[in-house]
Symmetry: C2
Subunit: 339 residues, 2 copies
């Protein structure tokens, strides 16, 4: 019996990681990093300083890696995807800079945010600069099919962020509305990153759709885990403080579920703390305890696993091999961050 248990235990011991993905696309990623460094340069010194602070601060380059691995899965052997992967990372970096202004965050990836060091003004403008550079990179690729996919992303993401502001402090926000928000603000860029690989290769619509769906579901799972971790992790692991969403009155799935499942007294607690943002020092602890009592964090993670499964299923019709295995393990990695 021991023999059959052993592999199971070994599997548990070895947490899912993106090491294999990194090995798969490592060489391409170096080329992408080279383009990123080149294209964030400017004669105005503050631009590479500020952009470099965020870009060099240990981001995983997850979106570029998804693009590169998707291209590998389809057997792509050119180099066009390098610029496009840099473009995708620039969009991501620009939105981070603008988010940090928006949220007044102090920490990102364990470091002070750019807006704290340089101020809001340069953060907004360097974000704009990176948006501009991302667009230049897409246009240099020259494929209208690629441009049609990527050119929509910036507006959709911004729309999602504004929608998130609109739902902030509204404890009556539905799960459906929340899913719309995280799809727009997070999952659409994951989806476009994967889909673009099919567009470069002029693949059929089914292939494009499969990669788009994979990226979208992965992105949703990723954000669900992030939103759960905001009530469950400590800042050493996440590189950001626990309870940020709570303090800002941001309404995410853990809050939605806890509110829906709560007693009238608990609902009044959510209305005060999230709705009217009247918070006492011990409220975060009470919020987390209340969530746990109703399984709100657990079920947020269960939803993440569901979307993770859907992401994997979306790959079913695509060619098997190392690239597909890596994309599947990336889903496990995204979810395992919570455990």
């Amino acid at each position: 019996m021991t023999a059959s248990i052993q592999p199971l235990r070994a599997e548990y011991a070895k947490a899912p990681s993106i090491d294999r993905l990194l090995a798969l696309v490592g060489q391409d990623l170096e080329a992408v990093n080279q383009i990123i460094i080149e294209r964030m340069q400017s004669p105005v010194a503050m631009i590479p300083e500020l952009a470099g602070h965020l870009i060099a601060s240990g981001g995983k380059r997850l979106r570029p890696m998804l693009l590169l691995a998707s291209a590998k899965l389809l057997g792509y052997e050119g180099t066009r995807h390098h610029k496009l992967a840099a473009s995708v990372e620039f969009i991501h970096t620009a939105t981070l800079l603008h988010d940090d202004v928006v949220d007044g965050s102090n920490l990102r990836r364990g470091r002070k945010t750019a807006n704290i060091i340089w101020g809001n003004q340069p953060s907004v403008l360097v974000g704009d600069f990176l948006f501009g550079r991302s667009f230049e990179l897409m246009v240099e690729d020259g494929s209208l099919r690629v441009l049609r996919i990527l050119s929509q992303v910036a507006a959709i993401m911004a729309q999602g962020e504004v929608d998130q502001l609109t739902t902030a402090r509204d404890v009556e926000t539905t799960e459906e509305r929340y899913l719309d928000v995280i799809t727009a603000k997070t999952a659409v860029l994951f989806a476009a990153s994967c889909q673009v690989a099919a567009a470069i290769m002029e693949k059929d619509e089914a292939t494009e759709s499969a990669l788009e769906a994979y990226g979208r579901y992965l992105g949703i799972a990723f954000q669900l885990v992030d939103d759960a971790l905001d009530y469950a992790s400590d800042s050493d692991v996440m590189g950001k403080a626990v309870g940020d969403d709570f303090r800002e009155g941001k309404v995410t799935l853990p809050t939605i579920l806890a509110y829906q499942r709560g007693s009238e007294e608990e609902r009044e607690f959510w209305r005060r703390t999230i709705g009217r943002l009247k918070q006492e020092p011990e409220d975060l602890t009470r919020a987390i305890a209340t969530m746990n009592r109703h399984g709100a964090i657990r079920d947020t993670l269960a939803r993440a696993r569901q979307y993770g499964d859907m992401a994997k299923e979306a790959l079913a019709a695509l060619p098997d091999g190392e690239a597909k295995d890596c994309l599947i393990e990336t889903v496990d990695f995204a979810i395992a961050r919570a455990f």
Copy 2:
């Protein structure tokens, strides 16, 4: 003798305007406005509310009109330029939204700025949304030649704005550096708006260059007049407060000239008020008096006229007619705002 004076006086009485330009492109402009209204819509209500506040607030649509008139000058008879003119206006509106966050302005076109009404957060995000929509509109046009011109603009403008932040409070800023800043932050979008008309029609490089130069010189003249008016107009006329640049420590040509030409005592005044931003209530009046003593505002306007003349000259080789006359009168209008 009276007979020969009469027309001169009549000419003075009739200030240069953009009425003729408006008549020339009015029908096209309605189509552009239609696209602007359509494309600023979103299921997230705050987006059209906030964008509409600025877009409906009596902006002149100068950049779209330049694009439309340039197309007319070249004999264009299609409708592709409508989307591109809307795209250009969206870029302009996005940068205004982001500028107002950056500058902490309270007034724009005589109304409260969006960041005062809705807060910085939505202003940044709706700006991003409009950038995104402007990209979409360009990509829908589908011409790579057009895309190459317009895709560079966002990064260059942002770079100019960051450079402006870098030169802020630096009274030693040179006129050359200042020209780089205003070219990037203002003139490049004017230039691209005009140049695009030639690109739509696949005209030769000389035609593209002529329209690019016209737009660029006009944009520089326009910004020089703006910067002079910031020390010379009253807020009823400009729809913005006098002395904004002074209070923010923004270094523009009037300051540069007054500093260069000033006595050591005057230079110390500029170092204190602009350099260290230590200002007393009567300092703005003293600043304007000092500028006038050295002809700093007068010479800023003289530079504007020089660039205006260069803009007109750039049109020399292009076809004569109503459109060209309108573009020439637009230069006079841009400069006449100061008188």
